[in-house]
Amino acid sequence: MVLEQDLVRHLVEASVTVELATPDMTLNIGPQHPSTHGVLRLVAKVDGERTTDVQPVIGYMHRGYEKISEVRTYPQITALINRIDWVSGYANEIPFIVAAERLMELEVPERAQYIRLILTEMARISSHLVFMASYPLELGAATPLFFALRDRERVLDLLESVTGGRFHPNFNRIGGVKPALGSGSATRKMIQDLPKTFLPETRDAMDKVLATCDEIEDLVAGNEIILARTRGIGVIPPDVAAAYGLSGPNMRASGVQFDLRKVSDYLPYDKFSFDIPIGTAGDCWDRWYVRLAEIRQSARIIQQAVDGIPAGPLQAKVPKIIKVPKGETYVRAENPKGEMGYYLVSDGGQGPYRLKIRSASFSNISILPWILEGTLIPDIIAIMGSLDFVLGDVDR
């Protein structure tokens, strides 16, 4: 009897001191998950519905552009770098071309600069519209996709009418832009300027884009489910954003009023008036809203540029075989995804000695382990989607 009592007491004590073992489960998300915008794998350790540790695995799309660039000529490289961030291929070309022009000390004609600027802002609109389409979709709302992609098509048609390409225009040349292909496939004559109807059509399209922004805002901003899933989720404080090198809309959503279009001179943005929309909370909702506001600002810039575009040549005088003089420079630009830059080291040859590509999405998702620790599993999708990355831009 005494023995039995001892045993009971022993068991009671044991139940107090020994906890039930609940090992964390490892959950693989991707590499083929639709919300990963390419092939990104997340190795998440989860304790119930909460994550304890998330490690992204990247490199599935690493194409080694920095190495290939060392055996390619400058004109060949623009064709490659279109494919870094393929959602806004046109914008990728700008900082590289400007870096080469800076080393060559070329003066680019003003009309060519305006065309670059208009097309860059179109690339921003189309990139942000893809976000407007895909992000609500990831949160379970399918309708905004149809509005956003309809207008993206308008913008891409215009881009195509000038460059001949929807995603990979390869339109910039060192010293200016490529002479545009005339519309009308019967003749396919090379003409030396923009298609005749481009400017009025652009003005129209921008009015439509602005109207669509209002539609999307009505549709999404008033939706309680979207608000519940994004407000206060995935908050990034400004100092953390800066330390991780988050740039573009992701950083501005955290309240940092910084835009390279305002502080650098890679394109003549100083001639136009536009605002830098910023967020206050730095959560998923702000990242969505800042991008919507940026579409409106881009449309505003394009309308001013269309009105003020000067006449003139599209190309500066450049030698037939491009050789870039010896030198080093880093040129960065405000791309739709954030800061994109090229550190170009030339030794005077036909190709770079070294080309370091700084892509926005790489730094933007390097914050994932920090921001996803301790979140709920459904919030992983909401947070990842709000960072708006493209795996081609991560892996290069």
Binding site: I58, G59, H62, G64, E66, K67, I68, E70, V71, R102, L103, R188, K189, M190, P238, D239, V240, A242, A243, Y244, G245, S247, M251, G255, V256, F258, L260, K262, V263, S264, K326, G327, E328, T329, Y330, V331, R332, E339, G341, Y343, V345, D347, G348, G349, Q350, G351, Y353, R354, K356, R358, F362, S363, S366, I367, W370, D395
Partner: protein, 199 residues
């Protein structure tokens, strides 16, 4: 957010000069890009000073340049250089848009340097990339494993001594690529094509 302690906005020149004075570095300005060269021992302290005293809080990128006289890919350098790795970290402010490139020279044999992860959290992935691509060791890095490359990968692809394997298989420009179409053999190539007579 304005973390710059001084309200006066410095130009890039002035900023580079005062940062160099504070960190014991040497400034070079080339084509609008300011570089501050520091010694490897001063690497972490220089970037800490840049962040804390000069408002350079934004970590843009980190990478390296392999300066070497014998290359496997691309054209060799015209003038011989001192063989070294030039490690570069680019940091920026978030007000005036000034960006500074901190550089330091590492030896070709066994390049090692203290990690910046404690100063800028974003250096984590950039250092992993530089580690796998150049073979640079970052002492004190929390997780110095491969980033892009598969686990068993051997060699450091961005070293100039690393061959580009596709070029080994098929030299450039690939003669196979420009073989004439049947019926066009021997025709002069500067005759305008039917498809694009004005090209």
């Amino acid at each position: 957010m304005s973390s710059s302690p001084s309200e006066v906005t410095l130009s890039l020149d002035e900023l580079a000069t005062s940062v160099a004075t504070a960190t014991g570095g040497v400034v070079t300005m080339t084509f609008g890009t300011a570089k501050v060269k520091v010694s490897p021992e001063a690497w972490v302290s220089a970037l800490t000073t840049a962040r804390d005293d000069f408002g350079l809080v934004f970590f843009s990128w980190l990478s390296a340049v392999d300066w070497t006289n014998e290359v496997q890919v691309g054209d060799p350098l015209v003038e011989p250089v001192e063989e070294r790795y030039e490690l570069i970290a680019a940091v920026s402010d978030l007000t005036a848009g000034n960006i500074l490139l901190f550089t330091t020279d590492l030896p070709k044999a066994g390049p090692r340097i203290a990690s910046l992860v404690g100063v800028y959290a974003g250096a984590n992935w950039h250092e992993r990339e530089a580690h796998e691509m150049f073979g640079i060791d970052f002492i004190g890095h929390p997780n110095l494993i491969k980033l892009y490359l598969p686990d068993g990968f051997e060699g450091y692809p961005l070293q100039k001594s690393y061959p580009l394997l596709t070029r080994e298989v098929k030299p450039w420009p690939g003669t196979v690529d420009v073989e004439g179409m049947p019926g066009q053999m021997g025709e002069s190539s500067d005759e305008p094509s039917e498809e694009n007579p004005e090209a």
